[in-house]
Symmetry: C2
Subunit: 134 residues, 2 copies
Protein backbone atom coordinates (compact mmCIF):
# COMPACT_ATOMS: atom_id res chain seq x y z
CA UNK A 1 0.00 0.00 0.00
CA UNK A 2 1.40 3.38 -0.96
CA UNK A 3 0.23 6.50 0.84
CA UNK A 4 0.89 9.87 -0.70
CA UNK A 5 0.35 13.09 1.24
CA UNK A 6 0.60 16.20 -0.94
CA UNK A 7 3.57 14.98 -2.98
CA UNK A 8 5.18 13.11 -0.10
CA UNK A 9 5.29 9.34 0.18
CA UNK A 10 4.44 8.17 3.70
CA UNK A 11 7.06 5.64 4.84
CA UNK A 12 6.33 2.49 6.86
CA UNK A 13 7.83 2.35 10.37
CA UNK A 14 10.34 -0.36 9.35
CA UNK A 15 11.82 1.89 6.67
CA UNK A 16 11.87 4.86 9.09
CA UNK A 17 14.00 2.86 11.54
CA UNK A 18 16.33 1.77 8.71
CA UNK A 19 16.81 5.41 7.75
CA UNK A 20 17.43 6.41 11.39
CA UNK A 21 20.21 3.79 11.48
CA UNK A 22 21.91 5.47 8.49
CA UNK A 23 22.03 8.98 9.97
CA UNK A 24 24.44 10.43 12.53
CA UNK A 25 23.03 13.93 13.03
CA UNK A 26 19.46 14.71 13.98
CA UNK A 27 17.59 17.66 15.46
CA UNK A 28 15.80 17.56 18.76
CA UNK A 29 12.80 19.78 19.43
CA UNK A 30 12.31 20.73 23.07
CA UNK A 31 10.60 23.44 25.07
CA UNK A 32 12.81 26.10 26.64
CA UNK A 33 10.80 28.16 29.07
CA UNK A 34 7.50 28.20 27.20
CA UNK A 35 9.18 28.55 23.80
CA UNK A 36 10.02 25.89 21.24
CA UNK A 37 13.68 25.25 20.42
CA UNK A 38 15.54 22.96 18.00
CA UNK A 39 19.17 21.82 18.34
CA UNK A 40 21.30 19.47 16.23
CA UNK A 41 22.86 16.47 17.99
CA UNK A 42 25.00 13.46 17.08
CA UNK A 43 22.91 10.41 17.87
CA UNK A 44 22.87 6.65 17.84
CA UNK A 45 20.06 4.09 17.82
CA UNK A 46 19.54 1.67 20.72
CA UNK A 47 16.72 -0.87 20.35
CA UNK A 48 14.82 1.57 18.14
CA UNK A 49 15.30 4.51 20.52
CA UNK A 50 17.42 7.59 19.77
CA UNK A 51 20.26 8.17 22.26
CA UNK A 52 22.74 11.04 22.48
CA UNK A 53 25.16 12.66 24.88
CA UNK A 54 24.62 16.11 26.35
CA UNK A 55 25.89 18.42 29.08
CA UNK A 56 23.92 20.34 31.65
CA UNK A 57 21.31 22.35 29.81
CA UNK A 58 17.95 22.37 28.14
CA UNK A 59 18.26 18.88 26.59
CA UNK A 60 19.27 17.27 29.89
CA UNK A 61 16.47 19.12 31.69
CA UNK A 62 13.98 17.71 29.18
CA UNK A 63 15.25 14.22 30.03
CA UNK A 64 15.17 14.78 33.78
CA UNK A 65 11.59 16.04 33.50
CA UNK A 66 10.60 13.13 31.25
CA UNK A 67 9.42 15.69 28.68
CA UNK A 68 7.92 14.64 25.37
CA UNK A 69 10.32 15.68 22.62
CA UNK A 70 10.49 15.41 18.85
CA UNK A 71 13.57 14.17 17.02
CA UNK A 72 14.00 14.55 13.28
CA UNK A 73 16.56 13.17 10.83
CA UNK A 74 16.59 13.95 7.14
CA UNK A 75 18.65 13.73 4.00
CA UNK A 76 17.81 16.25 1.33
CA UNK A 77 19.40 16.54 -2.09
CA UNK A 78 18.23 19.90 -3.42
CA UNK A 79 19.87 19.47 -6.86
CA UNK A 80 18.50 15.96 -7.28
CA UNK A 81 15.07 17.05 -5.96
CA UNK A 82 15.08 14.04 -3.65
CA UNK A 83 14.90 13.65 0.07
CA UNK A 84 13.42 11.97 3.10
CA UNK A 85 12.73 12.89 6.68
CA UNK A 86 11.95 10.71 9.67
CA UNK A 87 10.56 11.92 12.99
CA UNK A 88 10.19 10.19 16.31
CA UNK A 89 8.21 11.59 19.19
CA UNK A 90 8.53 10.24 22.70
CA UNK A 91 9.54 10.70 26.30
CA UNK A 92 13.11 11.83 26.95
CA UNK A 93 14.87 9.88 29.66
CA UNK A 94 18.15 10.44 31.52
CA UNK A 95 20.09 7.17 31.25
CA UNK A 96 21.56 6.15 34.62
CA UNK A 97 21.48 2.33 34.57
CA UNK A 98 25.12 1.10 34.21
CA UNK A 99 24.24 -1.66 31.71
CA UNK A 100 22.26 0.77 29.58
CA UNK A 101 25.07 3.34 29.77
CA UNK A 102 27.51 0.67 28.58
CA UNK A 103 25.20 -0.15 25.67
CA UNK A 104 25.04 3.55 24.73
CA UNK A 105 28.84 3.72 25.04
CA UNK A 106 29.15 0.83 22.61
CA UNK A 107 27.40 2.83 19.86
CA UNK A 108 30.49 5.01 19.35
CA UNK A 109 28.61 8.33 19.42
CA UNK A 110 31.12 11.20 19.40
CA UNK A 111 29.63 14.64 20.12
CA UNK A 112 30.94 17.18 17.63
CA UNK A 113 31.45 19.94 20.16
CA UNK A 114 33.95 19.74 22.98
CA UNK A 115 32.91 20.52 26.53
CA UNK A 116 31.34 18.24 29.10
CA UNK A 117 28.74 16.00 27.46
CA UNK A 118 28.72 13.13 29.91
CA UNK A 119 24.96 12.62 30.27
CA UNK A 120 23.27 10.08 28.03
CA UNK A 121 19.69 10.86 27.01
CA UNK A 122 17.34 8.29 25.51
CA UNK A 123 14.19 9.18 23.62
CA UNK A 124 11.71 6.32 24.02
CA UNK A 125 10.17 6.16 20.54
CA UNK A 126 6.42 6.35 20.84
CA UNK A 127 5.49 7.66 17.42
CA UNK A 128 7.67 6.99 14.39
CA UNK A 129 6.81 8.59 11.06
CA UNK A 130 8.60 9.39 7.86
CA UNK A 131 8.11 10.89 4.45
CA UNK A 132 9.96 10.78 1.16
CA UNK A 133 9.70 13.13 -1.81
CA UNK A 134 7.58 11.12 -4.23
Amino acid sequence: MTLIDNGLLILPEEECLDLLRVGTIGRIGVTMGALPAIFPVNYGLLDGDVVFYTGDGVKLRAALEGAVVAFEVDHIDVAGRAGWSVMIVGLADDVTDPMELAAVGGLGIVPLAGGDRSHAVRIRSHFVSGRRVA
Copy 2:
Protein backbone atom coordinates in the same frame (compact mmCIF):
# COMPACT_ATOMS: atom_id res chain seq x y z
CA MET B 1 33.79 39.52 22.90
CA THR B 2 33.73 35.76 22.49
CA LEU B 3 31.17 33.70 24.36
CA ILE B 4 31.73 29.98 24.68
CA ASP B 5 29.00 27.67 25.98
CA ASN B 6 30.26 24.13 26.66
CA GLY B 7 32.46 23.93 23.57
CA LEU B 8 30.14 26.01 21.40
CA LEU B 9 30.88 29.55 20.27
CA ILE B 10 27.83 31.80 20.63
CA LEU B 11 27.32 33.74 17.39
CA PRO B 12 26.25 37.39 17.16
CA GLU B 13 22.85 38.06 15.53
CA GLU B 14 24.47 39.63 12.45
CA GLU B 15 26.41 36.43 11.74
CA CYS B 16 23.28 34.31 12.36
CA LEU B 17 21.40 36.24 9.66
CA ASP B 18 24.35 35.89 7.26
CA LEU B 19 24.27 32.12 7.80
CA LEU B 20 20.48 32.00 7.30
CA ARG B 21 21.02 33.69 3.93
CA VAL B 22 23.38 30.88 2.87
CA GLY B 23 21.01 28.00 3.64
CA THR B 24 18.07 26.71 1.60
CA ILE B 25 16.71 23.96 3.87
CA GLY B 26 15.68 24.46 7.47
CA ARG B 27 13.55 22.63 9.99
CA ILE B 28 10.43 24.08 11.55
CA GLY B 29 9.29 23.01 15.00
CA VAL B 30 5.55 23.22 15.58
CA THR B 31 2.95 21.73 17.86
CA MET B 32 0.66 19.08 16.38
CA GLY B 33 -2.15 18.36 18.76
CA ALA B 34 -0.27 18.74 22.02
CA LEU B 35 2.85 17.04 20.65
CA PRO B 36 6.01 18.59 19.24
CA ALA B 37 6.85 17.97 15.58
CA ILE B 38 9.73 18.94 13.27
CA PHE B 39 9.60 19.11 9.48
CA PRO B 40 12.18 20.15 6.87
CA VAL B 41 11.24 22.99 4.50
CA ASN B 42 12.86 24.96 1.68
CA TYR B 43 12.99 28.55 2.83
CA GLY B 44 14.05 32.04 1.88
CA LEU B 45 14.83 35.14 3.89
CA LEU B 46 12.70 38.30 3.63
CA ASP B 47 13.83 41.30 5.68
CA GLY B 48 15.36 38.98 8.25
CA ASP B 49 12.26 36.75 8.48
CA VAL B 50 12.09 33.15 7.29
CA VAL B 51 9.46 32.51 4.60
CA PHE B 52 8.40 29.25 2.98
CA TYR B 53 5.56 27.71 0.98
CA THR B 54 3.24 25.09 2.36
CA GLY B 55 -0.04 23.33 1.63
CA ASP B 56 -2.97 22.78 3.93
CA GLY B 57 -1.66 21.12 7.06
CA VAL B 58 0.06 21.55 10.37
CA LYS B 59 2.46 24.29 9.21
CA LEU B 60 -0.31 26.39 7.67
CA ARG B 61 -2.45 25.90 10.78
CA ALA B 62 0.43 27.21 12.91
CA ALA B 63 0.51 30.32 10.71
CA LEU B 64 -3.24 30.84 10.78
CA GLU B 65 -3.20 30.56 14.58
CA GLY B 66 -0.22 32.91 14.85
CA ALA B 67 1.59 30.18 16.79
CA VAL B 68 5.12 30.67 18.09
CA VAL B 69 7.41 28.32 16.18
CA ALA B 70 11.12 27.52 16.09
CA PHE B 71 13.10 27.35 12.88
CA GLU B 72 16.59 25.88 12.71
CA VAL B 73 19.23 25.81 9.99
CA ASP B 74 22.57 24.09 10.33
CA HIS B 75 25.59 22.92 8.43
CA ILE B 76 27.51 20.09 10.02
CA ASP B 77 30.68 18.49 8.70
CA VAL B 78 31.10 15.33 10.78
CA ALA B 79 34.46 14.36 9.22
CA GLY B 80 35.86 17.87 9.62
CA ARG B 81 34.43 18.13 13.16
CA ALA B 82 33.01 21.54 12.26
CA GLY B 83 29.52 22.94 12.19
CA TRP B 84 27.10 25.70 13.04
CA SER B 85 23.42 26.01 13.79
CA VAL B 86 21.15 29.02 13.83
CA MET B 87 17.69 29.17 15.34
CA ILE B 88 14.96 31.76 15.09
CA VAL B 89 11.87 31.75 17.25
CA GLY B 90 8.86 33.86 16.43
CA LEU B 91 5.22 34.14 15.43
CA ALA B 92 4.18 32.31 12.28
CA ASP B 93 2.03 34.34 9.94
CA ASP B 94 -0.01 33.45 6.85
CA VAL B 95 1.07 35.88 4.11
CA THR B 96 -1.95 37.33 2.28
CA ASP B 97 -0.87 40.87 1.33
CA PRO B 98 -0.31 40.93 -2.49
CA MET B 99 2.86 43.07 -2.25
CA GLU B 100 4.32 40.77 0.37
CA LEU B 101 3.35 37.68 -1.65
CA ALA B 102 5.14 39.18 -4.65
CA ALA B 103 8.24 39.79 -2.52
CA VAL B 104 8.16 36.16 -1.34
CA GLY B 105 7.69 35.06 -4.96
CA GLY B 106 10.82 36.99 -5.92
CA LEU B 107 12.96 34.88 -3.60
CA GLY B 108 12.78 31.90 -5.95
CA ILE B 109 11.88 29.36 -3.27
CA VAL B 110 11.05 26.03 -4.92
CA PRO B 111 9.48 23.44 -2.59
CA LEU B 112 11.16 20.07 -3.08
CA ALA B 113 7.97 18.05 -2.94
CA GLY B 114 5.22 18.31 -5.51
CA GLY B 115 1.63 18.80 -4.46
CA ASP B 116 -0.19 22.04 -3.68
CA ARG B 117 2.07 24.36 -1.68
CA SER B 118 0.49 27.68 -2.54
CA HIS B 119 0.40 29.25 0.92
CA ALA B 120 3.29 31.48 1.98
CA VAL B 121 4.17 31.44 5.67
CA ARG B 122 6.37 34.06 7.30
CA ILE B 123 8.06 33.57 10.66
CA ARG B 124 8.52 36.98 12.27
CA SER B 125 11.98 36.63 13.85
CA HIS B 126 11.76 37.54 17.48
CA PHE B 127 14.72 35.67 18.89
CA VAL B 128 17.74 34.88 16.73
CA SER B 129 20.54 32.74 18.13
CA GLY B 130 23.37 30.67 16.76
CA ARG B 131 26.27 28.50 17.80
CA ARG B 132 29.38 27.20 16.12
CA VAL B 133 31.64 24.31 17.11
CA ALA B 134 34.58 26.09 18.73
